[in-house]
Symmetry: C2
Subunit: 321 residues, 2 copies
């Protein structure tokens, strides 16, 4: 297997590439380093030979040149497409962010796969495609799909062009709808935000929203494990799976308390108004993960355990900066 | 009401604008005339004062200049966005067609509505967002949504950015998922294709696919009637409706026979292989239209009657060319 990963220097990409190298795959990847970092690339290199280049995947000409050269050196057998703008709030303020970094990266990836004759894509989609369906447990076949962020819309659009491409040039596709994921190297997200706020002002933690938002979390180690598991076990031509913990999740209130306890014991927590942390934030969601568990995979950590593990790791990461 | 229609010179746009003008609305519209025509615009003008301009909506700068000027002359109160590439097969061969004409036209429309503070959009979506779900009756909440054409993918993407925009700048949205629509002025579609083939060679009709494709059809007069009905009656902030006939539809075989009977009696019909007319063609679909009928609207024509009416009109249109 010679695997090409987009967004390889990001949070999930770093962990995925390391796991693949460890098991002996040939791994290459591009990243524009907007959220990923050279430090992450160094972390990957510790696990084996790794072909890396800084490329902006939204720039189709640059992407084509770089991928052709890579493919000529060492033919790519499948693409894991993780590149996206994970800053959901930025994409609500300016739809161009997700158009470019979340959708056009997918569009360009498919175009180049067609040109180069690469048949298999594994795509990092998101729970954000479901929008806000209130109390409903989200199964893979749940509809309607009305995202409430441009991030969610452009992930949905990406799923759409992938499924359409299966009718023409693509041979096989996996769509993994990620939950909230926690761990290191953290580049964004609520835990990192809280840790940084408390390091800047240890006496007080201001929380966006009233803290009642409740979401399920998965640790990144388990996310990577689940993806590799499904990739090897699923038999469908289009395999689409929710990946997540099958529990009711934890509240932002809980996360804030846990971070305070570890990073700045005694700090006062101040909550804002409303159940949404920001426009485009889905206040509550929980996955039905029957499809994944039927295939034989279950997380070992609950949402609360994943959060606690990640807080320790992120606090350590920030101390080392 | 001052209504702005994108794709106004196309098949549905022409009929919609005429109906709105007839009931006294102020109507304006842009079209790039790729499928629409100046002759269609003249047909609209017979019904009243109509502000029209040739504009490529995929070119955001040109679109912005033209819409700003229009909005300054006569403030737009709502947008009916119909512009799209309706040539599904062309979009399968080249994904850029639907990226540009089906998705970027929506993206640009939303961007300009944000800039100009226009709060309401009515969007012409499509049954193509459902992909190929086999025998299932398609209700509005049916999932999963895995389109099999780039046209379907870019309609789904358009729905996504519209629902996301409702979380920020947009006030209200209607998403109408069109069925197969028949009538005049025909610009594309199976009936027009058959009529033209028979006029070119009256002794024989070659049909793509084995003729078993079965789809429900609505006459364009009824489609326009349904849209105006839902727009005035529905109360949701995001109103999404399948519009179609609640029957099992008709086969391509039936359509071919009807066209032959009217246009070239005695012509031999030759069928191809496979249940799909072309890549990206959904071989069978039928709508559940409970949501629409609960609101109080039902078509008066069955799929078969709509087809027969349209064949007569399209044959007449082609004779007049």
């Amino acid at each position: 297997m010679s695997i090409f990963i987009t967004g390889v220097a990001g949070f999930v990409g770093t962990n995925l590439a390391a796991a693949m190298l460890k098991r002996g795959d040939k791994v290459s990847g591009f990243d524009n380093l907007s959220l990923g970092s050279a430090r992450n690339v160094e972390a990957i290199r510790r696990h084996g030979a790794f072909d890396f280049e800084v490329v902006d995947l939204a720039d189709v000409d640059a992407y084509r040149r770089a991928l052709r050269a890579l493919h000529a050196r060492s033919p790519v057998t499948e693409v894991w497409h993780l590149a996206a703008s994970s800053d959901i709030a930025a994409g609500v303020a300016d739809a161009g962010v997700d158009l470019r970094d979340t959708f056009m990266t997918t569009y360009n990836t498919l175009l180049l796969m067609k040109e180069l004759g690469i048949g298999t894509i594994v795509f990092a989609s998101s729970s954000a495609v479901y929008g806000d369906l209130g109390e409903r447990k989200l199964s893979e076949d749940t509809g309607p799909l009305f995202p409430i962020s441009n991030y969610g819309a452009m992930k949905l659009a990406s799923e759409g062009v992938i499924s359409a491409a299966l009718e023409s040039h693509l041979q096989r596709a996996f769509v993994f709808r990620f939950p909230n994921v926690a761990g290191v190297p953290a580049t964004h997200g609520v835990i990192l935000d809280f840790v940084r706020k408390l390091r800047a002002s240890p006496g007080n933690l201001d929380v966006l929203g009233d803290g009642s938002q409740r979401k399920s979390y998965l640790h990144v180690d388990e996310l990577v494990d689940a993806m590799l598991f499904v990739r090897s076990r699923a038999r469908e031509r289009l395999g689409y799976y929710n990946i997540g913990a099958d529990d009711e999740g934890v509240t932002v209130h809980f996360i804030a308390q846990q971070v305070v306890q570890l990073v700045a014991p005694g700090a006062r927590i101040t909550f804002g108004q409303g159940s949404k942390g920001w426009v485009g934030d889905v206040p509550k969601f929980a996955y039905a993960t029957d499809k994944l568990s039927k295939l034989g995979w279950r997380p070992t950590l609950s949402s609360a355990e994943a959060i606690r593990k990640a807080i320790g790791q992120i606090a350590e990461q920030e101390r080392a900066r």
